[in-house]
């Protein structure tokens, strides 16, 4: 009746473990690119001479070679610091003479800070300083139209430095990969549910239920890890973000699947009802998680008009660990599901024999 367990079929379990180890070790060891942590003071008036105190992260202001910095108003208005003094590897003071003429700008304008040296490459901090503009001339005098010398690029493999995220960008390998693995496991569960409805073998119901249970566990872990990540980036465990709430609804639909299974005593009926319900739940999951969050604004990248999984949020160095992590978690989830399946098969066999 039941298949024999093949020892040679172990390879994918080992692969899952090795890949997950690779993700944890590599994902934690590779440093972030240098970046700018803070800039003081945060505002100035046109015509001022401002001394900015810049705090860097993973930077080499002292040992990194020639340090240069610019403030950028727009793509054709730059000023270079006339004096820059590094007081430590992560601390420097840059003095700018901000021109009194502000082209055609009025009101308050944000300036971007650009910092460059040979070792660290360039770092960019948008909204570094807010400029209050008083009675400006519209000539644009005193600004450079471009950065004359080329900027350096960081050559080593480093994870991107993102404001607010900082080191938590590494959660991409765990939080996001968990959701991807959950989705793949739900697909496996759906597949077995459909196969049960077509062929009606009891083991297909067991397989479907096991994949769903592991996927639901991964989903709950995804919510918990996301909550911790949100606490340290958005400063709250739970926001009214549309993706959070819609995912919570999707998880509740799937939790109802577990309750449904427990309430039906008759095995054939339970198998048929839960297979049908799992198809409904999957169809509900697609708009809840993939469609609705994209229609409105969301804090999650890839929603509300943001490019999905691209740019600095997922560059090639992150992909080096992100895709293996999805594979590793899917393989581990599959392992967990097969353990559950084996347990349920033994139990079923016992009930049939007794």
């Amino acid at each position: 009746m039941s298949e024999r367990i093949n020892i040679k079929g172990m390879w994918w379990k080992g692969l899952g473990v090795v890949l997950f180890l690779y993700v944890i070790v590599g994902g934690m060891m590779i440093p972030l690119k240098p970046g700018i942590l803070s800039i003081q003071p945060g505002n100035a008036v046109n015509g001022d001479t401002v001394k900015l105190e810049v705090t860097g992260y993973n930077t080499h202001f002292l040992s990194g070679g020639d340090l240069r910095t610019w403030l950028k108003l727009d793509s054709s208005h730059f000023i270079q610091a006339f004096q820059i003094q590094a007081t430590g590897e992560t601390m420097c003071k840059a003095t700018f003479a901000i021109p009194s003429s502000m082209a055609s700008y009025t009101g308050v304008q944000p300036l971007t800070l650009i910092l460059d040296n040979e070792v660290d490459g360039y770092s960019i901090q948008p909204n570094a300083i807010f400029l209050a503009i008083n009675d400006s001339l519209s000539t644009g005098e005193g600004w450079d139209s471009s950065i004359d010398e080329p900027l350096h690029a960081m050559g080593q493999i480093r994870f991107p430095y993102r404001n607010i995220l900082h080191e938590t960008i590494r959660n991409t390998f765990f939080h996001i990969a968990l959701w991807f693995a959950m989705f793949l496991l739900l697909l496996a569960g759906l597949w077995h549910a459909v196969m049960y409805l077509r062929q009606g073998l009891p083991q297909q119901d067991i397989q479907s239920a096991a994949y769903h249970k592991v996927a639901i566990l991964f989903g709950l872990l995804g919510i918990a890890t996301g909550s911790v990540w949100a606490k340290f980036t958005w400063n709250t465990f739970w926001t009214t973000d549309v993706k959070l709430n819609m995912t919570a609804v999707a998880m509740l639909i799937y939790l109802a699947y577990l309750i449904l299974r427990n309430t039906i005593a008759d095995e054939d009926k339970r198998a048929r009802v839960s297979a049908g319900y799992s198809i409904f739940a999957f169809i509900a999951l697609i708009p809840l998680v993939f469609v609705i969050p994209r229609l409105t604004d969301s804090l999650h990248p890839g929603n509300g008009g943001n490019p999905a999984l691209g740019g600095e949020d997922l560059d090639n160095t992150l992909r080096l660990f992100f895709y293996p992590s999805i594979l590793a978690l899917t393989l581990l989830g599959n392992w967990m599901a097969t353990l559950l399946i084996r347990y349920e098969k033994i139990r079923e066999k016992m009930f049939y024999h007794s």
Partner: protein, 74 residues
């Protein structure tokens, strides 16, 4: 009866943990935010590990029950 006392122990432990959680969190927040918030990544990995360990514990518990059932039948 046995299950009942186990559950009460679990509930009281959980309750105690939840009670000290806020003060622990307040102390730990600064630590978790240090060095570019790297420790929040550690917390995330720990949650994933705890989740998988919980799954293993549940399966272990269920298997033990099954083993006892088999033993009783023989």
């Amino acid at each position: 009866m046995k299950y009942h006392s186990k559950f009460r122990k679990f509930a009281s432990l959980t309750g105690a943990f939840l009670a000290i959680c806020p003060s622990l969190m307040a102390q730990q927040t600064d630590f978790l935010r240090s060095t570019g918030k790297i420790y929040s990544v550690v917390a995330v990995i720990a949650i994933v590990f705890i989740g998988i360990a919980f799954f293993l514990y549940r399966l272990d518990y269920k298997l033990t029950k099954l083993e006892n059932q088999i033993k009783n039948e023989q």
